[in-house]
Structure formats: C-alpha cells, structure tokens
C-alpha cells in the first residue's frame, strides 16, 4: 500500500507539469505555422528559399507534435517509432519514384 501511495503522489506531481508542456508544443506549432504562411504571403522571396523554409517548418512541427502530443518521446515507444519510421521509408520511396517517373 505504501508504495502505491508514493507512486500516486509522484504521478500527481507529473500531472501538474503536464499541460504546460502541451501548451508550449501548441505555441511552437502556432509559431511554425505562422512563419510558413508569412513566408508565402510575403511573396517576393526566392522560390527555392521559400520551399526550404516550408519543408523545414513542416518537419519541425511534425516532430514537436509526435514527441509531445503523441507521447513518442515517452518511455516504451520503440514499436510506435519503428511503425512510423517504416511508414516514412515507404513514403520516401514512393515520392522519389513518382517524381523520377514524371519529371525526368
């Protein structure tokens, strides 16, 4: 019983920290989205440079959301990481193949 109590105390302390991390992830996502839209709305930036900004913002935002909102940074998420990495591997193969077929 005693160990039960101490673990639930610990859990409570964790819970207090919880929302703040998620709000930080939200604000970060918001900022990355606004940067991406602003880069396009500005209009007069070099096209290649805009593309680089857009892809960078998207990748950072996805990592933020996967880590915090989908708990991938937490312990015991090896199989989720394997599943998503395997999916992303197939996606890269598909995108590269399709682009190679059509554009070259």
């Amino acid at each position: 019983m005693a160990s039960n109590h101490s673990s639930s105390e610990e859990v409570k302390r964790h819970r207090v920290e919880g929302p703040q991390k998620h709000i930080v992830a939200f604000v970060l996502s918001l900022a990355l989205t606004i940067i991406a839209f602003a880069a396009v709305a500005a209009g007069d930036i070099n096209t290649t440079f805009t593309y680089i900004i857009l892809v960078a913002m998207a990748i950072i935002q996805v990592f933020v959301q996967l880590a915090f909102w989908m708990h991938m940074k937490d312990r015991g998420h090896l199989f989720p990481i394997i599943a998503i990495v395997a999916g992303v591997f197939v996606v890269f193969t598909a995108v590269i193949t399709a682009v190679y077929w059509v554009w070259w």
């Binding site: 673990s7 639930s8 859990v11 819970r15 919880g18 929302p19 998620h22 709000i23 939200f26 996502s29 918001l30 989205t33 991406a36 839209f37 880069a39 396009v40 709305a41 096209t47 805009t50 593309y51 857009l54 892809v55 913002m57 998207a58 935002q61 996805v62 959301q65 996967l66 909102w69 989908m70 708990h71 199989f79 989720p80 394997i82 599943a83 998503i84 395997a86 999916g87 992303v88 197939v90 996606v91 890269f92 598909a94 995108v95 193949t97 399709a98 682009v99 077929w101 059509v102 554009w103």
Partner: protein, 205 residues
C-alpha cells in the same frame, strides 16, 4: 481504500495502459498509423508528381485562398490541443471535464469540415472539379481523403462520448479515448503536410 473511491470506481493511473488488452490496442493502433502514413504518403507522391498538370483548369496559385486555409489550420491545431486536454482530464479521473474537452474537439472538427466543404464548393464553381486535370484529381483525392478521416474521427469520438455516458470511464473505455486522441493528432500531422505541400507550395508555384 474504499473511502477514497470515486463514484466511477477506482481507476489505476494511466487507465489506458492498465490492462494487457489496452497495451495491445495501443501497439496495434501504432502499426495501423504506420499503414496510414503509407496511405497518405502514396497520395502525396501522386499529387507531387502531377501537381503541375493543370490542363485548361485554374492554376493552384489563383485557386487557393490563404486566409481560409490559415483559418482551417488554426481550427484543426486548436482541436488537437483540446484532445490533449481531454486525455489529461482522463488521467486526473475528471470524466465530466473529459467529455467537455471531447465535445469541443468534435465541434472544431465539424467547423473544419464545414470550411472544407465551402472551399470545395467554391473550387467546383470556378471550374476545378474531380475530372478537370491530373492536378485536380490528385488534389481532391488527397485532401478529400484527409477530410474523410476528419469526418470519421468526429463520428468515432461522438460514439465514444455516448459510450462513456453508458459505461463510464473504465479500463475498457479508457484505451479508446486515448487512441482517439492519438488518431486526432495524426490527422493534424497529416494536415501539416497538406497545407505545406498542397496549399503553400501551390501558391508559390
């Protein structure tokens, strides 16, 4: 112990992972999300390859309106945060608060769907429909598939709320709530790539 019990009964910490069945559901769901990644990735690959083939139809840079896309993005992002709050309320065993956050999640999902339907309606009236060009077909397939996932999520979370009313929050219902939130975040992650690759890159040219 019994003096500390809640009306809903005593729940372990992180009830979604308390049983083997719950943990297996979470593992299976992640494998499903890996497959979903492939599904959306192949649709993206078709879109990226075909996005310049507009034929006589309108060009993406004339078609897309950034303010509307930005509004839809904000709605879905906020909705994702609401489902985080729902899971946190669940972890604190606050069932009413959890249902409240889930309802807000659903309402924002419906608002997103409403915007998307209006958007597609405008496009069709501007002569950009499913059969216009390779660009329009791949556009509607990709964005439409995402919209269908949002619609399914709204339906799923809606049904879960009615189940919570019937059965309460238990180690059986908790994994479902947790997974619906994970699903909802995944839909938002896919949308990040859609607004980047389809809309913003389409606007750039």
């Amino acid at each position: 112990m019994s003096a500390h019990q809640h009306a809903e009964g005593h729940l372990p910490h992180e009830p979604e992972k308390a049983t083997l069945e719950g943990r297996n559901k979470i593992l299976g769901f992640w494998i499903f999300l890996g497959a979903e990644t492939v599904l959306f990735g192949t649709l993206f690959s078709a879109f990226i390859a075909l996005r310049h083939q507009v034929l006589d139809g309108p060009h993406p840079s004339h078609l897309f309106e950034l303010p509307m896309i930005f509004a839809a993005t904000m709605i879905l992002l906020t909705s994702s945060l609401m489902s985080v709050f729902a899971v946190q309320a669940m972890h604190n065993n606050k069932v009413k608060a959890m249902i409240g956050w889930l309802l807000v999640t659903i309402l924002l999902g419906l608002a997103f769907l409403g915007l998307e339907i209006t958007e597609f309606n405008t496009y069709v009236s501007e002569g950009h429909n499913m059969k216009t060009s390779a660009f329009s077909s791949s556009f509607y397939t990709l964005v439409g598939f995402h919209g269908a996932h949002v619609a399914f999520g709204v339906l799923w979370i809606g049904l879960l709320i009615t189940q919570i009313f019937k059965k309460g929050l238990t180690v059986v219902t908790a994994p479902k709530i947790y997974l619906s939130a994970i699903y909802w975040h995944f839909i938002d992650v896919v949308w990040v790539f859609i607004f980047t690759v389809v809309y913003l890159m389409g606007k750039v040219g």
